[in-house]
């Protein structure tokens, strides 16, 4: 009988402890606006591979948990659909069809966050380091581009740390899109590939049925897309 009474006490005790513990933790599922970029598309067909680790990515530190997978998958889908003439979602690199010129596999290399307790600046900060693996249509590696992006909140007090971390993560993801749009064609290995492709297409004889010599025009612009610089 005494044991039973003891058990009756344990249930609310555990429930209260669980409630207290969850009250101290911050769980964020990142949500935000990720528009398609306003840029002249790079005239190539690209295949995108989002593996499970990327799609379900969750960052955890102490009592903080940030579910980033869904948001980053959406951001990159929108980004690549505007950045390239054509973008296709692939299950794996091996699933690339012959008409695909490039295959891009984004991976999260590292994430760091800083809360007001860490930086004493009254801002929340998020850094994300991506490894953008780029392959050509044959599956040969072109580049492993380590791309970092950063987001922070304004100094004004926000309602909760969850909301602040979401805001900082959204800014970081948008920054990743900006970095990708302006920096992708400037990666030396990618730039080299684009130049080689343009030269190869120039060397190809014009189709016999074509009446106009304009068929190879778009490649001449490939190396200058998105080359805006800060000023």
């Amino acid at each position: 009988m005494a044991t039973k009474t003891h058990k009756n006490w344990l249930v609310p005790l555990f429930a209260a402890s669980a409630l207290l513990l969850s009250a101290c933790s911050t769980n964020v599922t990142v949500t935000g606006d990720y528009p398609s970029p306003l840029a002249k598309p790079i005239p190539y067909d690209v295949g995108i591979v989002f593996d499970d680790a990327f799609k379900d990515y969750v960052f955890t530190r102490d009592n903080i948990e940030i579910k980033l997978g869904d948001a980053q998958t959406r951001m990159y889908s929108n980004l690549f659909s505007g950045m390239f003439a054509n973008s296709t979602l692939l299950e794996s690199r091996e699933a690339a069809t012959p008409d695909i010129d490039l295959v891009i596999v984004p991976n999260v290399e590292e994430i760091q966050i800083a809360t007001p307790k860490d930086n004493r600046l009254k801002v929340y900060e998020v850094w994300i380091k991506y490894n953008m693996q780029v392959y050509d249509g044959d599956g040969s590696s072109i580049a492993d581009w380590l791309m970092t992006c950063y987001g922070k909140t304004p100094t004004a007090t926000l309602k909760s740390s969850a909301r602040s971390l979401n805001l900082a993560s959204v800014v970081a993801l948008r920054d990743a899109g900006a970095r990708m749009t302006t920096g992708f064609v400037r990666v030396p290995e990618v730039q080299g590939w684009l130049i080689r492709q343009a030269a190869r297409k120039r060397q190809q004889p014009a189709p016999a049925t074509s009446d106009t010599p304009a068929a190879s025009e778009p490649q001449t612009q490939t190396t200058v897309e998105g080359n805006h610089e800060r000023g």
């Binding site: 606006d33 306003l38 922070k152 304004p154 100094t155 004004a156 899109g177 805006h228």
Partner: protein, 236 residues
């Protein structure tokens, strides 16, 4: 009996007047505590006349967010936009909408810091067309933030099975400091600058329940900035 009654009435009158005096003191303290001081500086070239916005033209207010130590608050930008819209009855494009439509060219990493860079951006036909489609002729860049510069006093709260309460006094100074630059993106020239500095002290008095007297520093800065910016445009 009559004397007792008279003494009772006097006592009641005395308590009433004391309460009245306390209420007046609290009201005075509240008003005094929440006072803010705003300083506005304006710069415009001697040759620059009032700006006239045509029916099909609009403006956008954008916050600077490229620096590491601060970034301009989106709610301040929205507040200035609403104020200009009310005062001038002009179309002010929503900041987030503008950023989304022109993504990624006005993100913290890519936004033009100088007119020369803006001119280069406008050479991109897609960007120029999008800005033209939105009818944006003037861009107002606002840089600055609101921060707590000093704080003093102490306040403590306790909770016990018998009840809870707070006791103490705390005060803190806040400073809003913003600068706005107006760009005419058709003529590619700067039309002027406005600087607003607002400071104020907030108080919190706690006797059982905490009573805050908050100085609305940022909204005062918004009002000052909105009013001054509106003088650049026709209709003021």
């Amino acid at each position: 009996m009559n004397e007792d009654k008279a003494t009772g009435t006097e006592k009641a009158m005395s308590i009433k007047s004391t309460l009245y005096a306390l209420a007046m003191a609290a009201a005075t303290l509240a008003l005094g505590a929440c006072s803010t001081t705003t300083t506005i500086d304006e710069y415009r070239d001697a040759g620059v006349r009032d700006i006239t916005l045509n029916d099909n033209e609009s403006m956008v207010i954008l916050g600077r967010r490229h620096l590491g130590d601060h970034e301009t608050e989106p709610d301040l930008i929205s507040c200035i936009g609403k104020r200009l819209n009310r005062k001038l009855e002009v179309d002010v494009v929503n900041e987030q909408n503008f950023l989304n439509q022109l993504y990624p060219w006005f993100e913290p990493r890519t936004a033009p810091l100088k007119l020369r860079r803006m001119e280069r951006l406008m050479n991109d036909q897609a960007i120029a067309n999008q800005i033209a489609a939105m009818g944006v002729r003037y861009m107002v860049w606002v840089d600055g933030n609101t921060e707590t510069t000093d704080s003093s006093g102490s306040l403590s709260c306790t909770i016990s099975p018998a009840g809870g309460g707070c006791f103490g006094f705390a005060s803190w100074d806040r400073l809003s400091s913003y600068e706005a630059i107006i760009w005419d993106i058709q003529e590619m020239e700067e039309k002027g600058r406005v600087r607003v500095d607002t400071e104020g002290t907030s108080y919190m008095i706690a006797v059982v329940a905490p009573v805050p007297f908050i100085a609305q520093v940022q909204s005062e800065a918004c009002e000052g900035m909105g009013n001054q910016l509106s003088t650049f445009f026709d209709g003021e």
